[in-house]
Symmetry: C2
Subunit: 429 residues, 2 copies
């Protein structure tokens, strides 16, 4: 067996701690699969004396993570610090510039600086690996970059944030409101104290921008992701969606049409027959639609110490075996710069919910607004006794989003409409 692959590990939080545990627990198996031992030489974290429940006595301790790439006993750097910029980015740049492979779970850093880092890795002839950055333990980066490599993909989409999926499935199962479930999710550790990165869809958007680059051989365009989270999803929406045959999920979806890249993260009505409708709790799932392979579906645990460490160590095994292929499937210079497709021109079916005053003519006003914007209605539910008003739920036929938004603007301007109308997309893939 060859020389060991020696790791410099920056960050000993959930992910870093999981990597330490996994490399210890499965050392023998990993050495057989990597054809050499994979060992930690040096670690770095903010507080040396904190009890993390892991034994770091055998590793050199480095107070400044920035020293890891330069150490002669470090062959590869594993970045588990987090954050799009700051020390994580400095470490990644230094490691790659020195020609040492970098493994990271940091989707925010990749969404913002992935192309720069991939170019650095190419220039140095080394590897940038990030299987853990999207969908935790599910090997979806490898699945897209290599498994589906022969296909032109028409779309890639999925459930990319476990916190949102946990909240939505609990709202669905228990009939609770968003705030109550969020509070409980925070108590149980399924949501952060500051949950906005998750529930506003930003984390899913980071991941989607990475998947889109792999799927369409295009440059990462995080700024081009239209992003809406789940704060506006009400129990009433979940109930009405169920009555119509749908479940609500936060879906990240990217497609390439006519040389333009469409990217969106949004709460979405998923038909109950679609496999994404059965992805419950903190699970993640990714679907890719290819011209020869058809639909590929991957699911599993999208977060947590074990699944994330599984993906980090899979990358380390690839590196130990000599895999230094380009981070996004081809040299950065060959990735296409696709312009963003206009969101409003996207066609689909839409779910609309409005609370209206209970008086004659209101339904006629709503349906006239839709007619005047050339939007036709597939189904409509009207229910009285909604806080003094009437609840109207509609599903449109296929039309472009701009027309629905125009109709909604007309409706919202009416005194008979109480509060802001709710609009959600229906997943018809």
């Amino acid at each position: 067996m060859a020389n060991p692959l020696r790791i410099g590990l920056a960050g000993l939080g959930t992910v870093g701690g999981g990597v330490v545990r996994l490399l210890g627990a499965n050392a023998g198996l990993i050495a057989r699969r990597a054809d050499r031992p994979v060992v930690i030489s040096a670690v770095s974290a903010r507080d040396r004396h904190r009890d993390r429940g892991i034994d770091c006595a055998g590793f050199a301790w480095v107070d400044d993570a920035g020293e890891l790439p330069g150490r002669s006993d470090v062959d590869v750097v594993v970045e588990c610090i987090g954050g799009a910029d700051g020390p994580a980015l400095a470490l990644a740049r230094d490691s790659l510039a020195l020609g040492k492979p970098l493994v990271t779970a940091n989707k925010a850093m990749l969404a913002h600086h992935g192309l720069e880092l991939a170019a650095l890795a190419e220039a140095a002839g080394t590897a940038l690996k990030y299987e853990a950055a999207v969908a935790g333990g599910i090997p979806v980066i490898k699945g897209l970059r290599e498994g589906a490599a022969a296909n032109a993909l028409s779309s890639v989409y999925g459930i990319l944030n476990g916190t949102c999926n946990y909240i939505l499935t609990r709202m669905e199962a228990e009939g609770l409101g968003f705030d109550a479930v969020l509070t409980d999710a925070q108590r149980l550790g399924f949501a952060e104290a500051d949950p906005s990165f998750d529930i506003d869809g930003i984390d899913a958007a980071h991941k989607l921008s990475i998947l889109a680059s792999l799927a369409f051989a295009s440059r990462i365009d995080f700024a081009g992701v239209a992003c809406a989270g789940i704060r506006a999803v009400a129990s009433a929406d979940i109930d009405h969606a169920a009555a119509l045959g749908y479940r609500i999920r936060l879906v990240g979806l990217a497609s390439a049409e006519d040389g333009r890249l469409f990217q969106r993260v949004h709460p979405c009505l998923v038909p109950q027959a679609h496999p994404l409708a059965h992805v419950d709790g903190p699970l993640n799932a990714v679907v890719a639609e290819g011209d020869f392979v058809g639909r590929l579906f991957f699911s599993g645990r999208g977060a947590g110490a074990g699944p994330t460490a599984s993906a980090v160590v899979a990358d380390l095994i690839d590196i130990a075996r000599g895999d230094t292929g380009p981070a996004f499937g081809m040299p950065v210079a060959q990735l296409a710069a696709l312009p963003a497709a206009p969101q409003a021109a996207h066609a689909g079916r839409f779910y609309l919910r409005l609370a209206v005053v209970d008086r004659p003519g209101v339904l006629a006003m709503l349906t006239a607004a839709l007619r005047d914007s050339d939007v036709s209605i597939e189904s409509l539910i009207q229910r009285g006794d909604h806080g003094g008003g009437v609840l109207v739920v509609m599903v449109t036929h296929v039309c472009v989003e701009a027309k629905v938004r125009a109709a909604l603007a007309t409706m919202a301007a009416s005194e008979d409409v109480l509060g802001a109308p709710v609009m959600m997309h229906i997943l018809d893939l």
Copy 2:
């Protein structure tokens, strides 16, 4: 861009024809992902003049596929001939012995000769690739060998034969019997004229033995797979399974316990909450349960020209990029020779169906037979008017299979039991 990777393609049936079409349709994208063009130099098939709907005018024609490996314009051989032995095996041996990579979709050949071929590839420092051999276009070989590489897996299982799944789901949806659906499946091209390889579970057993090797870092042991097909599944079983909350699927399952390898292909009751219960029609799916990653689930199209070609070309792209890693994830000499676990010692819950004479004391006889074999009953359905007799369906609590078989032998010996009792396993993973 580097020199093209030049292919010698043996066999122009469904798979070979699909490879020709895919390499033509997506040539530009494939060249970007492979970092070089992937082109066909020479082809071989039995009948040069048959119209296959593909244009082979640009390829050299070779009457004897055995000449492909020796050609100076062939860098890699793609074997799409089929059959465990004969010309396919000779071609594979010759290609690898000459140090030329081999790509194959031939699960029968791999189940029987995979270790020999992998050792040949190792000795020559070249690649044996076979993503298309299991689950068609789903990148499950890569997913297990690389994606889940950091994990000790406790089990790998799935729906590995699309023909059986198509038949079972049509029986379920339409209430038809096995023979009627089989005949129609043959007419529609979902089943072969001689369907025994599929419906007797042999094809699934070939695939399972390959998955087990990857999952448990063990030597392929096709002879150790206990194998039962779907001929004995009756509409009555599907109905009763549904009433009890299950769907019947042909499941291939392998697990490693106490250093022994358990491998079985069998029709199985899958709880409706399990993701395999929602894999319908000709789809395939594979589940792997890892100690750190948890459950990974992959699904997609398991057969057909497009999905199979997608997997073959993914292998070609890997080879074009220089990936010559060991076929089963580590050198053959390091794969463990795990003895087969005794099937009868395996514990689980069981579904039993018997037709009995309608007279007093029969139910007492059945329940006594179970009690005497130490098998306890979780649920029981009794229905009269079953062809003059009474239908009894039971689900046991967890017990070892030997005890259930002993009880069944006692029952079957009774004159009151009409025909052979039916026993199926319940998937409790």
